[in-house]
C-alpha cells in the first residue's frame, strides 16, 4: 500500500481551478519525481497535499489515514514534510536555529543529534556556518539548508519543491548527489523538479503532470524513453 495516496484531488486558488482530478501513489522508500511544464499544477498539488490549500474535492490518504483537511503543522507532526519552493528559510535566524526549528515535531526530537550528524556528512558546508544568519548565505547553501531543515523534521515523506531552481550547475549536481544518498538512507521522497532530465535520472518512479491532470506515470527509466516525453520535456 502506498504511504501517501492522492485520490481524485481537485484544488486551486480562490475561483481559479488548477487541479482537475489528480490520482497518485507514493511508495515507501522510493524517490518519486513529479514533472511537468510551468503552470501544470505541480506546486499547487504539493501545497494541497501539505495543507496550505484545502482540496475542493478528493482525498489525501497518509499512512492509511484521511488527512485531507488537516493544517500543515498537524501534518508535519505526522511526518509529512515539505521543503517549499524558494527555500523560505528563517532568514533572520542562524543556520543552527533553522535546523532546530526543523526538529519541531515531537517525533523528530529523539533522533535530532543523529540526524544532525547525517546532515553534516551530507552538507559539510553547513557545519562551518552554524552561527551564520541564514539569509546571508549563497543561494546554493540556502537550498542545502532548506533540505537539511526538512531532514531534521524526521520525514516519513519528504516533498521537495524545485530543488535546483536558480542554482548553478555544479551546485545542482551536489544537491542531486545528496538526494541519492537520502534515497539510500531509506527516506521516501517526492521531488518536484523543472530539470526533467535530472529528475528522471535520479528517481525510481515518475508522474508527468499536464493541465492539472496526470498525463503519464511509470518507472522513471521507461518514462525517459517515451517519445512524447522526449520531445516535449527533454527537447530531443
Amino acid at each position: 500500500m502506498s504511504v501517501l495516496e492522492i485520490r481524485n484531488v481537485i484544488s486551486g486558488y480562490d475561483e481559479l481551478q488548477i487541479l482537475w482530478g489528480v490520482d497518485m501513489g507514493i511508495e515507501e522508500g522510493q524517490l518519486t519525481a513529479l514533472v511537468g511544464s510551468n503552470g501544470a499544477g505541480k506546486t499547487t498539488l504539493l501545497r494541497t497535499i501539505v495543507g496550505q490549500l484545502k482540496p475542493w474535492q478528493g482525498q489525501i490518504i497518509f499512512q492509511g489515514q484521511d488527512v485531507s483537511t488537516l493544517p500543515p503543522y498537524t501534518k508535519a507532526e505526522m511526518g509529512l514534510i515539505m521543503v517549499p519552493e524558494g527555500r523560505q528559510l528563517f532568514t533572520d535566524m542562524s543556520v543552527m536555529e533553522n535546523l532546530e526549528m526543523g526538529a519541531t515535531p515531537r517525533r523528530a526530537r529523539a533522533g535530532a543529534s543523529q540526524r544532525l550528524e547525517m546532515i553534516f556528512e551530507l552538507f559539510p558546508r553547513l557545519k562551518e556556518r552554524l552561527s551564520q544568519k541564514s539569509g546571508t548565505m549563497s543561494g546554493g547553501e540556502q537550498q542545502m539548508l532548506a533540505v537539511a531543515r526538512g531532514i531534521m523534521s524526521d520525514p516519513v515523506v519528504l516533498m521537495i519543491d524545485e530543488l535546483s531552481l536558480g542554482l548553478a550547475p555544479v551546485l545542482t549536481l551536489d544537491l542531486f548527489q545528496a538526494l541519492r544518498k537520502l534515497r539510500r538512507e531509506g527516506i521516501t521522497i517526492l521531488l518536484v523538479e523543472q530539470n526533467v532530465r535530472m529528475a528522471l535520472k535520479v528517481s525510481d518512479y515518475a508522474y508527468v503532470l499536464a493541465k492539472g491532470k496526470v498525463e503519464m506515470n511509470g518507472l522513471s527509466h521507461e518514462i525517459e524513453q517515451d517519445e512524447a516525453v522526449r520531445t516535449t520535456y527533454l527537447g530531443i
Binding site: 496550505q52 503543522y73 528563517f90 533572520d92 535566524m93 536555529e97 526549528m101 531543515r149 523534521s153
Partner: protein, 286 residues
C-alpha cells in the same frame, strides 16, 4: 549646575528603561504579526490601576502586585488576540487598526466610568538613595532595575528557549513555521499576550513613580511609537535604546527650558530620524 544636570540625567535614564519595556510590547506585536496595537496605551493604564488597586485595597507591596499585573496583562492579551485580533490577522492593516482601536475605546469607556478621569497616587515610598551629589528616589531606582530585568528576561526568552525561537520563526516566516509543525495561531496569541504583558508591567512601574489616571496611558503610547520608530520597528534592543534616549531628553531638557518643550523636541527628533534614518537607529526587522 553640573550636579543638577547629572541628577536629571540619571533620573531620565532610569525612567528610560521603563519607557523601553512599554515600547518593546508594541514593537514585539508589530514585529511578529504586523499589527499596530492601538489599545497599547489603555493597557498601560490598566497596569497602572492594577497596581494601584492591589496596593490600596489589598495592601500588597506594589512590586509584588506587579507579578499579578503581569499575569493579568498576559491573559488579557491572549483573550484580546483570540476575540478581536485573530479574525483580522490576514486582512488589510486597517482592519486590525480598527479592531484594536475598538478595544482601546472599550477600556477607556469602562475605565472612565469606574475611576473617572481623576488622578490617583500609589502612596508608597522606598526612601531616597544617595550616592555623592546624586539623590534618587527608591521607587524610581527599583522600577528601572525591574525594567532592566524584564528586558533581559525577554531577550533570554526570545533567543534561548524553544518557545521564544518559535516566536522569532513565526515573525520571520509564518507559513514556513507551520511547515515545521509550529502551531502559528498559538504562537501569535502568545506573542500578543507578551506584548500586552510588557505594557501592563510598564504601567505598573510608572504607577510607583508618577500619579496616574485612566487616560494617562495615551501619552505613554505616543512615547512608545516614537521609541519604536527611533529604535527600529520590531527590534526589541532598539526599543530599549530608544527608551533611554527619550528618558534622557525628559530628564535633561527641563534643566534648560520649560518642561512643555520636551514633547516638541521629542517629536522633532522623531521626524529627523524618520528623514535621516527611517529604518531606525539599530535598523528594522527584515
Amino acid at each position: 549646575m553640573v550636579n543638577v544636570l547629572l541628577a536629571s540625567l540619571i533620573d531620565g535614564l532610569l525612567i528610560g528603561f521603563v519607557y523601553g519595556i512599554a515600547a518593546m510590547g508594541l514593537s514585539l506585536i508589530f514585529g511578529v504579526m504586523d499589527v499596530v496595537n492601538l489599545a497599547h496605551g489603555p493597557i498601560i493604564a490598566l497596569g497602572m490601576f492594577g497596581v494601584y488597586l492591589l496596593f490600596s485595597l489589598l495592601g500588597l507591596n506594589p512590586f509584588i502586585a506587579l507579578i499579578l499585573v503581569a499575569v493579568m496583562g498576559l491573559l488579557f492579551g491572549l483573550v484580546m488576540y483570540m476575540t478581536a485580533v485573530h479574525r483580522v490577522i490576514d486582512a488589510p492593516p486597517l482592519s486590525s487598526l480598527l479592531a484594536t482601536f475598538a478595544v482601546n475605546m472599550m477600556i477607556i469607556g469602562i475605565g472612565t466610568s469606574l475611576f473617572t478621569t481623576s488622578s490617583y497616587n500609589v502612596e508608597y515610598s522606598l526612601g531616597t538613595v544617595t550616592a555623592g551629589p546624586i539623590n534618587v528616589t527608591g521607587t524610581r531606582l527599583a522600577a528601572s532595575l525591574i525594567a532592566l530585568l524584564v528586558t533581559a528576561a525577554l531577550y533570554w526568552f526570545l533567543y534561548y528557549t524553544r518557545t521564544g525561537k518559535y516566536i522569532r520563526a513565526v515573525a520571520n516566516n509564518r507559513s514556513s513555521a507551520e511547515l515545521m509543525g509550529i502551531p502559528s495561531t498559538r504562537i501569535l496569541a502568545l506573542s500578543f499576550g507578551i506584548g500586552t504583558m510588557l505594557a501592563a508591567i510598564a504601567g505598573g512601574l510608572i504607577a510607583t513613580i508618577f500619579p496616574i489616571n485612566i487616560l494617562a496611558g495615551g501619552s505613554y503610547e505616543l512615547k512608545s511609537f516614537v521609541i519604536v520608530v527611533m529604535g527600529g520597528l520590531g527590534n526589541p534592543l532598539g526599543a530599549l535604546i530608544g527608551g533611554l534616549i527619550l528618558g534622557l531628553m525628559e530628564g535633561v531638557v527641563p534643566v534648560f527650558m520649560k518642561t512643555t518643550w520636551v514633547p516638541v523636541l521629542e517629536f522633532m527628533l522623531f521626524i529627523i530620524i524618520l528623514l535621516v534614518r527611517p529604518q531606525g537607529i539599530l535598523g528594522a526587522k527584515e
